[in-house]
Symmetry: C2
Subunit: 190 residues, 2 copies
């Protein structure tokens, strides 16, 4: 077995640090605030490091979306896939538009970016596909409506003058998953 090159290991770590810094910049200033220099400053690396690791600024954004999409995926699946109660779901949503407001904002900016970059689409909607796969809804229509409403509630929560809290969201979620048996009682293929 060949020894791993210490340089490459360090490189990979720095590479990831740059992506994480990019996400922080987006959280703070939006996609518009992402420049090689601002990312480098945030990551504490030389100005040219982002250019070195990512051929173009676009590549950096793409890498950041891909990475953030994975986290989004986990979060969303935790919300929709757990079979949690309406209150638990409402709590997660409330958290997303309050404590994690900036993060959620960033994720939707990247999300929307996928609307203009076809190559990003699969990553952006991965959580949707995964949700369907995990839950195996018997009533796909009701489930799709549920998933759409989650996106809508989050987006609308971001532009409310005061973000909704758990108690306000709970009845809406409750309404959406009424008759959830319809889609959670997944049929197993034989």
């Amino acid at each position: 077995m060949q020894k791993v090159d210490g340089r490459k290991a360090r490189g990979e770590k720095k590479r990831r640090a740059i992506v994480e810094a990019t996400l922080r910049v987006i959280e703070r200033d939006g996609v518009a605030g992402v420049t090689h220099r601002s990312v480098a400053r945030e990551a504490g690396v030389p100005t040219t490091a982002p250019t070195y690791y990512f051929a173009t600024l676009d590549d950096l954004l793409i890498a950041t979306l891909l990475w953030s999409a994975e986290e989004l995926c986990d979060d969303m699946l935790k919300i929709v896939g757990s079979g949690g109660s309406a209150r638990e779901i409402a709590r997660s949503l409330a958290k997303a538009v309050n404590e994690n407001r900036c993060r959620t904002l960033a994720e939707y900016e990247l999300y929307l970016l996928a609307g203009r970059r076809p190559e990003l689409k699969p990553a952006a909607r991965r959580w949707l596909d995964l949700a369907v796969e995990v839950v195996r809804p018997a009533d796909p229509v009701a489930f799709r409506a549920f998933l759409a409403a989650i996106d809508g509630l989050l987006m609308q929560g971001l532009i409310a003058d005061v973000a909704p809290n758990e108690d306000e969201l709970e009845p809406i979620v409750s309404f959406l998953i009424r008759g959830r048996d319809d889609f959670t009682a997944a049929p197993r293929e034989e």
Copy 2:
């Protein structure tokens, strides 16, 4: 009555032309593509005209959102407030993510911009408030779920690799407005 100053009239017209050009630029290249120069080129006015009419680039974006919000408002109300059938609603949604895809994309970018500019929030969510006011839902919970789902369906339609058509959306809409009597049979206050 004093005569209107022809100069001011012309100015107002040009001012609006600049806002319209800005929206076209956003449709084509996104908010990121908006610069004084790109807008000026699109509007066919001198480079400094946008600066002259709008103190800062931000002001221009804000003016554009305010203006586009009015149109969004009309469109959305046509969808949710008309009491149209599920098919009619589905048709409107399908149109938004197909023929009018770029326009819808632009509107959501501006929408999200409101997430970072508190002063834009009222304009961005105006259609939501208006919808509630017009429909006077007896079941506000069901109605909010419906409104959220519309946003979600549009956003998810924008990142689908092939945008959904009328026939795919119809059952989902149908599901969402089942028991619509609950929220359309508005109680009149005496």
